[in-house]
Symmetry: C2
Subunit: 165 residues, 2 copies
DNA sequence: TATTGTTATACTCTATAACTATA
DNA sequence: TATAGTTATAGAGTATAACAATA
């Protein structure tokens, strides 16, 4: 049996009933995933803004990747991020303009750039990481440690299932 | 104790080790959520493209909302979608150009548009819904029914936790 | 005065295609 | 020839600010 959905679209059609009927949407994994992601993104932005820092989740991921794989090329980074190499260019331009990372010429292959964090970039990343932990704590605040672990595991299964196309 | 991370960045620095060290990223809920969402989005697109249909998850959600709440205004819809009213305009333009929905003048309030699906839009939405179910089945293919239900519940908790700013 | 929808404008993210320099 | 990075370009999603019509 179905649970009772919007009993009626409300009475007097005055100003509308504030709560919309979302139909099947709340039963769809993709929809709920998108909504959660959107809220998490907003929380990330608010956390950083509140600390006077400016960074997107994507930029944070990029910085971690460069920090942990110093000297990697733009192609390798683009592949790891799942974006086109041309998409990466303006992103790196911006981070480089902020003095967070640099493009060095590779000594072994003149076509590639060896990416690395600047000293300032490494220092900033440490601060960013602290902010991310605060953010993570909040988005998981209604979950137990076990639930958070389970959620991460389930998300990985979803990703793996979606991939198989 | 920490689990063993990337034992080493590999030997001969020839072409790089194919697998990057992602550091703390795989332990971050926000990161895993974003990755899953990205894969799900790609699966959605592939499912529709494979059926010769063209629609984004956001457009699907919008159509369902209009279908279930015929006559709602653009402001109400924008609020439900969590976007600015100005953002909604070109989206509606596109769907209207595809003859999926129409903007009617509200008889009771000359400022608002009463949105509704066209007959063609209602018919298309039925087809889209079938495709979404196929898509949903695949992204949840590695999860049991219980796990899918649990995942949806956990995602809702994340969303609720993130919101409280 | 306040609200709704629109327009103008501006970013960011995304991609494809073509160019360059190197291999 | 093939690969890496860049540029030019275009489309979609997002926002803010200002405007016209209506309440």
């Amino acid at each position: 049996m179905d649970r009772p959905l919007a009993k009626s679209l409300a009475g007097t059609s005055t100003t509308s009933s504030k709560v919309l009927d979302r139909g099947i949407l709340p039963t769809l994994l993709g929809y709920m995933l998108r909504r959660a992601q959107s809220a998490v993104f907003a929380d990330f932005a608010a956390t950083f803004q509140g600390a006077g820092a400016s960074l997107t989740p994507g930029e944070f991921g990029l910085l971690v990747l460069v920090a942990r794989n110093t000297g990697l090329s733009q192609m390798a980074l683009a592949r790891a991020l799942g974006i086109d190499r041309s998409t990466l260019v303006p992103i790196l331009d911006r981070l480089q303009a902020r003095d967070l990372l640099v493009r060095r010429r590779s000594p072994t292959d003149g076509r590639t750039h060896a990416l690395e964090l600047t000293p300032a970039g490494a220092k900033e990343l440490a601060r960013f990481t602290t902010l991310v932990r605060v953010h993570e704590k909040r988005i998981a605040s209604r979950l137990s440690t076990a639930e958070t672990q389970m959620l991460i595991g389930l998300l990985e299964k979803v990703r793996a299932g979606a991939r198989s196309l």
